[in-house]
């Protein structure tokens, strides 16, 4: 799925989008408000779904090599957050949907789990 499709599905607004991500295929995503969760359990090229709108979210995305960030629950995004995103070239979109709903929409459209912490349940069920 492309970023454009994700944006459409989540009725999201684009805050920053570098052109070179236009054709990037998104396969995996994970959700958390704890940055350490992303740092511990993540895949490269994943999407970060979070309610934490601060600059460290962007730097976390940069060090794990994430494709982009989705801010949920229609949060007001501070300017300095967008500035860091521009500096580190991380795409950022913001949706009014809650974290739970945003995740289920993406899941139902084939985006897979990036964290790999739920092996105890059958994800195909």
């Amino acid at each position: 799925m492309t970023f454009e499709n994700v944006t459409k599905l989540l009725l999201a607004k684009t805050l920053f989008f570098p052109e070179n991500f236009k054709d990037t295929e998104i396969e995996f995503a994970g959700a958390s408000d704890l940055m350490s969760d992303f740092l511990a359990f993540s895949k490269e090229n994943m999407l970060l779904i979070t309610g934490l709108t601060s600059p460290q979210t962007i730097t976390t995305a940069a060090v794990v090599g994430a494709t982009g960030i989705i801010f949920v629950r229609g949060k007001e995004i501070p300017d300095n957050v967008v500035e860091v995103a521009q500096d580190l070239e991380i795409p950022v979109i913001v949706t009014d949907l809650s974290m739970y709903i945003a995740c289920s929409v993406l899941y139902n459209n084939g985006i897979k789990d990036a964290m790999g912490t739920d092996r105890m349940i059958d994800k195909n069920g």
Partner: protein
């Protein structure tokens, strides 16, 4: 027949009279280099070689003093022992020690009678907290007197060092450091600047993506620890070698009180305010260990934290 005292001894004695009330804990080298009773002699020997020391205290698992092992003991092993033997079998038992609250006078008295090279120092709870040698005393005195003392060539290296590896004892020149960044911000919101700058740097050096990712993540956690927990400034160094990348982070803050706890996933001392910022999940040190191939951490309360992480390329 009384042996003629050498110059160092005379000097120590003379100067010591001025400073007799100084406590040993202000002079000793701390934390000390120690081995446990179970340590195999081949490692004891390596530690002596790498650290350029001729002896060290042997401790029990509870950090109590058990003995002292020196080059002389190692020589005896060459004659009649095996380097797979444990330190406890070859050390000198019931060694002479000092208390950290003892004064310089106690050192002089012990030295007068025994003239050993080094004395282990213990605290009130009988844990080994330092080692004191004649050279420590001299060094300390000259520092106090404001002189730069004339040191021999062997010590020069140590004195002018910028940086000594905690893992191997290798020493690096300032010019050998490939990347340096000062972590001098206190806002949690700034966390990640050092890690992302290091990431850019490593990519520019054509280090493989998956290695860069591991280095960046582990560095990010270490950087967060400095900003959130140390209450001080810190510095990040990185060296690229043929087969590995090394990252060092150092701060001068309050240190880690209980390292065993800190290494447990989920344990955190972070405040509510820090947690609101998405940190304090108690995953910092475990994540650093997870993403690095080797990690060494040295800390004690109020003495800051030094971390060294090694990543194979």
């Amino acid at each position: 027949m009384a042996e003629e005292k050498n110059d160092v001894d005379k000097l120590v004695e003379m100067l010591s009279k001025v400073f007799v009330n100084i406590k040993i804990k202000d002079i000793m080298t701390s934390p000390p280099i120690v081995v446990t009773e179970e340590t195999k002699l081949k490692y004891v020997k390596d530690i002596m070689r790498i650290k350029k020391i001729s002896g060290m205290p042997v401790i029990t698992r509870n950090q109590n003093l058990s003995g002292i092992i020196s080059i002389e003991d190692i020589i005896k092993v060459y004659d009649s022992g095996s380097f797979n033997d444990r330190a406890v079998n070859w050390m000198t038992k019931n060694p002479v020690f000092l208390n950290e609250d003892d004064t310089l006078m106690s050192f002089l008295e012990a030295n007068e009678k025994l003239n050993y090279g080094r004395y282990p120092v213990i605290n009130r709870n009988k844990k080994v907290v330092g080692v004191v040698t004649k050279l420590d005393i001299l060094e300390w005195m000259f520092k106090k007197l404001g002189y730069i003392y004339v040191h021999d060539q062997r010590r020069e290296e140590t004195l002018n060092k910028r940086f000594t590896s905690l893992l191997t004892g290798e020493q690096y020149e300032e010019t050998r450091i490939d990347f340096r960044y000062d972590i001098d911000y206190e806002s949690v919101e700034m966390v990640g600047i050092a890690a992302t700058k290091l990431k850019k740097f490593l990519l520019s050096k054509y280090i493989k993506n998956d290695v860069v990712r591991k280095v960046s993540i582990a560095t990010y956690e270490a950087e967060a620890n400095i900003v959130i927990h140390s209450g001080s400034k810190g510095v990040l160094y990185c060296l690229i070698n043929n087969d590995h990348v090394k990252v060092f982070l150092e701060d001068y803050g309050k240190g880690i009180e209980n390292l065993d706890k800190a290494m447990k996933e989920g344990f955190s001392t972070a405040t509510e305010k820090i947690r609101e910022k998405g940190f304090g999940a108690g995953m910092g040190l475990p994540n650093m260990k997870r993403f690095s191939d080797r990690m060494t951490l040295i800390s004690s309360p109020n003495k800051g934290v030094k971390v060294e992480m090694l990543f194979y390329i």
